[in-house]
C-alpha cells in the first residue's frame, strides 16, 4: 500500500511537470489548430508517458520484468533478519540483482523477510575470506563458517564464492 502511494505521488509530480512543459508550447495552439486546452492535456499526457518510460528504462524496472528477489537459506536469512550480518556468502552461481538495486529477500521456504539494497558484490575463494568479512557475514570463527557451509556441500578452501554486501531498506517483515 505504501509503495503504491509513493508511486502515485511520484507519478502525480511527473504529470504536473509534463503539464508545465507542454504549457510552454502555448504558441502552438493555433499552429496545430487544436486549441490550448486539448493540446495541454494531450501533450501533457504524451510527455508524461515519455518521461515515465524513460524513468523505468533507466531504473531497469520496465513492466513485464519480475521484481528482483534474492533467496536465502533459513540460517543466512535469519542472520540478515536479526541484523547480525550485512554480508551474505553465497555460492558463486547465485543470481543477484545489479549493484544498487533493491531486492526482496525470501527464505528458500517461500516467505519474504525484507527488502535489501545490494551495495556491493564480489568474489573470493573461501580460504581468502578475511576475519572482518567473516564477522560482517555473522560468523565468529572460520570454523563456524565451515560448519554452515558444509550444509551446502564439501568445504574446499579454493572454492570461489560470491560475497554480497546488503543494506536493509525499510523495515523487515520478521
Amino acid at each position: 500500500m505504501g509503495r503504491l502511494r509513493e508511486e502515485l505521488i511520484r507519478s502525480g509530480i511527473l504529470f504536473a511537470i509534463a503539464l508545465v512543459l507542454v504549457a510552454g508550447f502555448w504558441v502552438h495552439r493555433e499552429f496545430y489548430q487544436f486549441g490550448f486546452y486539448p493540446i495541454l492535456v494531450a501533450g501533457g499526457f504524451a510527455t508524461f508517458l515519455v518521461i515515465t518510460v524513460a524513468r523505468y528504462a533507466l531504473r531497469g524496472d520496465l513492466p513485464g520484468r519480475a521484481r528482483a528477489t534474492m533467496t536465502f537459506s533459513l540460517e543466512d536469512g535469519e542472520r540478515l533478519l536479526q541484523r547480525r550480518a550485512t554480508l551474505a556468502i553465497l555460492p558463486v552461481g547465485t543470481p543477484l540483482p545489479p549493484v544498487g538495486a533493491l531486492a526482496t529477500a525470501k527464505f528458500e521456504t517461500g516467505p519474504e523477510f525484507g527488502r535489501y539494497r545490494v551495495a556491493d558484490a564480489y568474489r573470493k575463494s573461501l580460504a581468502d575470506i578475511e576475519p572482518e568479512e567473516l564477522q560482517r557475514a555473522g560468523f565468529r570463527t572460520p570454523d563456524e563458517l565451515r560448519r554452515a557451509w558444509s550444509a551446502r556441500g564439501v568445504w574446499r578452501p579454493e572454492a570461489v564464492v560470491l560475497l554480497a554486501r546488503l543494506e536493509p531498506h525499510g523495515r523487515g517483515t520478521g
Binding site: 504558441v27 502552438h28 493555433e30 499552429f31 524513460a54 528504462a57 533507466l58 558463486v92 552461481g93 543477484l96 545489479p98 549493484v99 544498487g100 551495495a119 556491493d120 558484490a121 564480489y122 568474489r123 573470493k124 575463494s125 580460504a127 578452501p157 579454493e158 570461489v160 560470491l162 554486501r165
Partner: protein
Amino acid sequence: MSLYPLVLIAAIVADAWFAAYALLRLRRTLARFAFVALLLDFIVMTAAVAGTELGALGPAWAPVALWAFVLAHPLTALFLLLAVHGEDLLRRYPYVLLLLAPVPVFAGLAPPAGYDVGNAYEIAPLSWYLILCLALPLGEAVAAWLRSVARRSELFLLITGAIVLVLTGPVYGFELDALGLVEGAGSNPGTPIAAALFALALTFANPFLMRKVPRAASGDPSIPPGAVLLADEPRSKASAHFAGLAIAAGRPTLEIVRRTARTTEGEGSVAVVGMEPARWTGSTVLATASEFLARHPGGLVYLRDLSYLATLAGLPAAKDVLLALRRTVAGTKGTVFASLALLTPEERRELLALPGVTSVRLPDPAVEYEAILGWSLGGGAAQLLRAFAGGEHRRAADLTYEDLPAIQRFLEAALAELARAPGDAPLITGWRKTLDRVNLDLDRFVRKPLQEAAAGPWPSETRRKGKEELVVRASDYWKGRELDEVLQAVSHTADRAKFAERVRTAFILVLGRTGDHLFESEVKRIGKSANDLGPEDVPRLADAAEVAIVSLGTAVDVAAGKADLEERGRRLKTLLAGILEEVGHGA
C-alpha cells in the same frame, strides 16, 4: 519585451556552468575538449542572438550568430562520435575531422547564397550539411546502443541529448518559422538540456582518477602488442608476475583492481585504479583504459579483477568491454591483459571463445614449486613448502613468484641443517648438488617468459627428464633423520629472529626510541641476545620493563606524567600478551 531573450540568457548561464563542470570534473581528454568547445560555441551563438534581440549588439553580429550556429553542428557530431567511440577515434578514423571542413567553404559562399540564421535549415546544400551533422552521430549512437551491453545507460543519455538538439534545433526552427516568430531563429533553447544529458553521460563514463605515468616506449617484449590476452589461471598470480615484469621493464602500465583499503595508486611506471560498486562500471573501465592507452599507445592495461567487473556489470558487459578494448588496441603497441581468476569454468569458456582475443594458460607457482621440489626431494616437498609458508603465517597455496628468493633461502637453511648432522663429506656434497639442482629448476621455471610459460608443459605436468643419479637421494637420507625435525629446527631459527623483532616493535610503539633502548638493556639483563629471545622470556621481560617504567615514573613529579607512564606500561603488557597469544604461549 519578449521573454525569449531571457530564456536564452538563462541557457547561456547553464551552458557556462556545464562547461565549468566539464573542465573541473570530467577526465576524458578529447571528449571533454570537444564538449567544452561545443558549449563555448553554444554560448557565443546564443549570446549573439539574445544580444541582437535585446538591442545590445548591432547587425554586425549577425554573421557571428550564423557561423556559431553552423559550427555547432559539426562540433556536436565530433563530440558525439568521440563520446561513442572513445579516445582512439581520431587514431582509427582521422578523417572525421573533415566534418569541420565545409564550415569555411559555406562561410565563403554565404553572401552570394544568401544564407542567414533564419533560413539555414532551408537552403541546400547548407541545410543538408547541418542535418547530416546531426543525423550521423545520432545514427552511430543508436547503433552503438543496440550493440553494447556495458554502456547502455551512457549511450542512452547521449542519444537523448542528440534527440533534444534535433527537436529544439531544426524541428523547433521550422515551427518558429511557420509561426512567423523569426526572432528565435539561429538559437537553440534546448542546449542546456542537451548539455545536462551529455554531462551526465560523460560522468557515467568518467575515467577513474589515475596518477600520471611517465611516457615511455614499450620496452617489454614478453607481452605481445596489439592484443587482448586472457590469462586462464586459477588465481591471478602468474598474470600479476608477468605484468610486474613489464612494469619492471619500464612499460607504462595501468592496473585495474577491485578497490579495497589496501589499494594504492601505484608508483614508477604503473598506475593502479580501483573499481568501486556501481552499475556503470563497464563504461568507467572502458573509458579509463581508453584514456590510458590514448596517452600511452604502447602501454599495458592489466585487468586483474575481471571477475569483479563480471559480477558488477554481468558477464555480457564484461565481454562487451573486452571486445571494445580489442578494437582499441588493434594495430597499436598497446596490450590488454586480463586475468580469468575467480571466474567459473563456463564463464571462462565464454570469454575464451570471444573473437579476436588470445588466451594464455598460466601455471600456479605454488603447485609448480611443489612439483619441482618433488623431483629431488620426493614427498618432503609439500612439507618443506608448508613449513616455509607457516613461518610467514600464510598457506602454501598462497605462495607466489615473488616468494622464490625467500623460499630459496629457506631451502638452503633446511638442506644445510640436514647435511650437518652426519658430517659425512659425500652426503654434504650430495645435498649441495641437490640444492643447486632445485635452485636451478626453480630459477628456470620463474624466468620463463610469458609465451614459454603458457606453452608448457609445466613441472606439475611432466616427469623429470634425463634424471641423473644423485650422490645421495632424499629418500635414502630421510631414514637417518626425519624431515619434520629439520624443518622445525630451521623454522625455529627464523621464527626466533622474527619474534624478537615483534617484541622490539611493541616496545618502540609504546615508548618510542626509549622503548628500543629499554628492550636492548632488558634483553641483556636476562642474559640473552635479541635473536635468542623466545616466548618463554617475555613474562620476565615484561616484568623487568614494568619495573623500569615505574622507576621512570618516580622521577616525574607531575601526576599526569605518572599516569601517562603507567598507562604506557599497561599498553606494553597488553601488546606483549597479545604476541604471546598469537604464538601459542598465551595464558
